[in-house]
């Protein structure tokens, strides 16, 4: 076995360890402090906005070199391709190899930086040490100033997690499953309290470091792009209402920058307890939309949950904002010339940009339907819920078939 690993080429290892990392949804390189390589010895910069250097045919952005250090693992989580009882090919990078690969890709402008995760080998501490070592080589030996995202291991020594945050722009710990029972069933070696405890500690470190920066200009930064987490959707029977509730409690309790949702996708050599079907991509999309509603549109988690249907799931054919508006029709229509920004944000079809434009433009003129059409993507969606100088949606909000009018048309399949 050991013999086999040493004869793998760098390319074979990259194939195995990138393949193993593709189930992680996050590839963001945004939200960190500005850095550049002027006056340094190495390369790299981050300018706030993330950059997607390529897109894969799955529509996902490739911003970072997203790999595992190794896919050997002593854990046996059912949803994970790298679990102990899986028959996948195994490989392992040395920290030197990871650093070289990152720099070689970065010099050619393929990537923004590194997203490193790992299976658990030997012990949690040993694995965490190796992850930190990769980041240390990049930062200290090569003066690399690009983006680094490290997955941290909840069971590892807090001192190691501290070092990880010192080198990395972002750290993350996956909560994996939205319900405790799901975690017990599908990730028997993981412990919810330990995961949340580690997230709590990370939050405290981030706040402490920010506080120190205020007093001492040269105090070291700790994970300036904050922490994030990921939840798998569709592997257990949690409803969207459960997931939204869990996400909002995570945002509140741990000050997370992002909660990522990953539609459970069939993995080769899957465990028998999992559904093997196409990943519920539309469900994932609706959850992201509801996430946006909470973060940018002023919806309370309870309100998003109100938009769900009887089974606790968000409708798949229409977006959650429209679903909410259809349930609470008494709040509409909204007058675009008078309504507050908060009310405008609730109008289906009006995004944050459109609302900002309306609020500015109405200082200069009383808006007509045509004006609103120029400020928005599609007036057809907005029209039934708004009032303008020359527009009033008579009866529209009372129509029983409003949903059918607004939902995207189902395509009739041709006979073959």
């Amino acid at each position: 076995m050991v013999q086999k690993i040493t004869t793998q080429t760098l390319r074979q290892k990259l194939e195995i360890l990138a393949d193993a990392a593709k189930y992680d949804a996050s590839c963001a390189s945004s939200g960190t402090v500005k850095k550049n390589s002027l006056g340094g010895k190495g390369i790299g910069s981050t300018e706030g906005m993330g950059i997607c250097h390529a897109y894969a045919p799955d529509g996902r952005c490739i911003s970072l070199l997203k790999i595992l250090l190794t896919n050997h693992c002593i854990f046996d989580c059912h949803y994970c391709i790298n679990r102990k009882s899986s028959n996948v090919r195994r490989a392992r990078f040395s920290p030197q190899e990871v650093a070289e690969l990152t720099l070689n890709f970065y010099r050619r402008n393929y990537i923004e930086g590194l997203f490193l995760s790992s299976g658990i080998i030997k012990s949690s501490n040993h694995t965490m040490e190796q992850l930190v070592e990769c980041a240390r080589i990049l930062r200290e030996e090569h003066d690399f100033r690009g983006y680094i995202h490290l997955k941290t291991i909840p069971e590892a020594d807090p001192e190691l997690i501290h070092q990880a945050g010192f080198h990395a722009d972002r750290v993350s710990i996956n909560v994996e499953l939205p319900t405790t029972s799901g975690l017990i069933r599908l990730a028997p070696d993981k412990d919810e309290r330990q995961i949340e405890g580690a997230m709590g500690k990370t939050k405290a470190r981030i706040i402490q470091a920010q506080d120190e920066r205020k007093r001492f200009r040269h105090a070291p930064r700790f994970a300036p792009a904050g922490q994030s987490t990921q939840m798998i959707v569709g592997a257990d029977n949690a409803s969207d209402a459960d997931i939204v509730g869990k996400a909002s409690s995570l945002y509140n309790a741990f000050g997370l920058r992002r909660v990522y949702y990953s539609a459970f996708s069939p993995i080769p050599d899957a465990s028998a307890v999992l559904p093997l079907k196409r990943p519920p991509l539309m469900r994932e999309h609706r959850l992201y939309q509801s996430d946006w509603l909470m973060r940018f549109y002023g919806y309370a988690p309870r309100e998003v949950q109100q938009a769900t249907e009887k089974d606790g799931n968000l409708p798949l054919d229409i977006d959650p904002k429209l679903a909410w508006a259809l349930k609470f029709r008494e709040q509409f229509p909204v007058d675009v010339n008078r309504a507050s920004k908060e009310q405008l944000l609730r109008v289906p079809g009006l995004g944050t940009t459109a609302v900002a434009r309306i609020v500015k433009a109405r200082r200069h003129r009383t808006l007509r339907l045509d004006d609103v059409a120029k400020l928005t993507q599609s007036i057809a969606k907005v029209r039934p819920f708004m009032v303008a100088l020359d527009w009033r949606p008579t009866m529209l909000t009372d129509r029983a078939d409003l949903r059918a009018l607004l939902a995207p048309k189902q395509e009739q399949l041709e006979l073959f």
Binding site: R11, L14, A56, G59, R108, V273, K374
Partner: protein, 482 residues
């Protein structure tokens, strides 16, 4: 003399720009012209090599007429910061009308300083469109420039890229690449001019051709492997990719040549991923008889290839107690019933001693087929692998769903894994209830075959602990039933 008097009546002015992205020059000229009250419709802006607008090409207005010069005390020209920021970026657009548009907006801002806020105004919208297109083009340049390494004779490394922008953005984005690759020698070649950085100074040169850039780089093979591996075929969304990475960029990105094959192969790979997972989503059998029938044909794990029969559990379909062993042995396989071999006999004895009625319990195994290695005429027992137990767990769960036992007794580590999905240590787990997710209690103890292998005092000790475990189960079952 007022400014207006300097402007010849009915004159049309033409301004020749020195470079298509020279915002500072435009700003200088525009300031002077506004101070001289030259209205937008009497003015044309011509780029080098460009035709300007229609007026500029027609007879009497061709060529640059001497532009009016404002007085020293002319009133200053004002514009909001927001306009300046937008204009600076929009001026990089390749639309030949852009400078005229910006001048018209600047003209309007003098009488209505807040004109930029009216987002429904056509000029404001057009400027915002230009700005957006230029920002997008710059962003794509940051993203899609691909350097190739060239070894220079002195041993140093030079990185050269070829990029084709839509707008005049090259010079404006030099700063980004300098900040990012400050300590690298690099050149970006484009049809609109080139940038060269040697680690200290920035040099510009004229337009280049695609052939001037180097072809190939050994690291590209690694990058392509990465691109192909990080793509999840089960999530194919070609539209989303094309929206962000339109085909016009593909020819200069090494990884893009893989895309057609990745898309074409995606469905097959997804089917492969599901098939490799070995089982499809299926309905749970509705009765124990249906399970008994279905497991005969089950080929989900390699044990079934051993040509043995499937051994179904037996006992009352509403039993309170379910006893789970590891897998059928040689005797069980021949007779088709669980726990009838040597271990079964020992189990029967111990149950009887503990006062548990075996016929009232549902007795089954974690794995339904006998796994063995042939040694001559003998079939030697082989422990099932974790994966085989996990695969067979689906049948055990189907049995549990139907029987709904309130207490499950797992004999040995394999049985415990079949119920919990993870491997537990018997010595730590025994003697106390573990809650299962359907509300039943799981009790774990050793498998009777373990006792058969022990001798002397060890046998007696372990026998006593086994008896104690069974006694505890007996008491708990009585409690649950009572």
């Amino acid at each position: 003399m007022t400014a207006m008097q300097k402007v010849s009546l009915g004159a049309h002015y033409v301004v020749h720009l020195q470079a298509p992205d020279d915002f500072a020059f435009w700003r200088e000229r525009a300031r002077g012209l506004i101070q001289c009250d030259v209205p937008p419709d009497r003015l044309s802006w011509v780029e080098p090599g460009g035709m300007g607008d229609l007026f500029a090409t027609e007879g009497p207005f061709r060529g640059e007429r001497r532009l009016p010069v404002p007085d020293d005390d002319a009133r200053p020209v004002r514009a909001s910061k927001r306009f300046m920021k937008l204009a600076r970026n929009a001026a990089l657009h390749s639309d030949p009308q852009r400078f005229g548009l910006l001048y018209r907006m600047l003209w309007r801002l003098q009488s209505n300083p807040r004109a930029m806020e009216d987002k429904a105004d056509p000029d404001v919208r057009r400027i915002e469109e230009l700005d957006k297109a230029v920002r997008r083009d710059s962003h794509k340049m940051h993203a899609f420039v691909r350097f190739r390494e060239v070894r220079v004779e002195d041993g140093s490394r030079h990185y050269v890229a070829w990029f084709e922008p839509d707008h005049h953005i090259v010079r404006a984005n030099a700063g980004f690449f300098i900040r990012r690759f400050a300590n690298m020698n690099w050149s970006i070649l484009t049809p609109r001019g080139c940038l060269h950085w040697d680690g200290v100074t920035m040099r510009e040169s004229g337009p280049a051709r695609r052939e001037d850039a180097p072809q190939g780089d050994p690291i590209e093979e690694l990058w392509k492997s990465y691109y192909a591996s990080i793509f999840n075929p089960a999530r194919l969304k070609v539209g989303a990719m094309l929206a962000e990475m339109p085909k016009k960029y593909w020819k200069n990105m090494p990884e893009a040549e893989l895309i057609p094959d990745l898309i074409a192969g995606a469905q097959a790979r997804e089917v492969g991923m599901v098939a490799a997972g070995a089982r499809e989503e299926r309905e749970r059998p509705a009765s124990l008889a249906a399970i008994a029938e279905a497991i005969i044909g089950c080929r989900d794990c390699p044990i079934a290839e051993c040509d043995t029969r499937a051994v179904m559990g037996e006992g009352p379909a509403d039993a309170t107690l379910m006893i789970v062993g590891e897998q059928p042995g040689d005797r069980e396989d021949r007779e088709g019933r669980p726990f009838v071999g040597p271990s079964g006999q020992l189990l029967d004895e111990c149950l009887a001693q503990a006062g548990i009625d075996r016929s009232a319990a549902y007795v089954t195994n974690a794995v339904k087929h006998f796994k063995f290695a042939q040694r001559g005429k003998r079939r030697l027992h082989q422990s099932p692998s974790a994966k085989e137990i996990d695969t067979c767990r689906w049948w055990l769960e189907s049995e549990r769903t139907l029987v709904k036992p309130r207490l499950v007794l797992a004999l040995g580590a394999s049985a415990a894994r079949g119920l919990l999905g993870k491997t537990v240590s018997i010595s730590q787990a025994r003697g106390k209830p573990i809650a299962l997710e359907d509300g039943a209690e799981l009790w774990v103890t050793v498998h009777p075959s373990y006792l058969l292998r022990l001798e002397g005092t060890a046998h007696e000790e372990q026998g006593a602990r086994f008896a104690a475990d069974l006694a505890a189960v007996k008491a708990r079952v009585a409690e649950l039933e009572g």
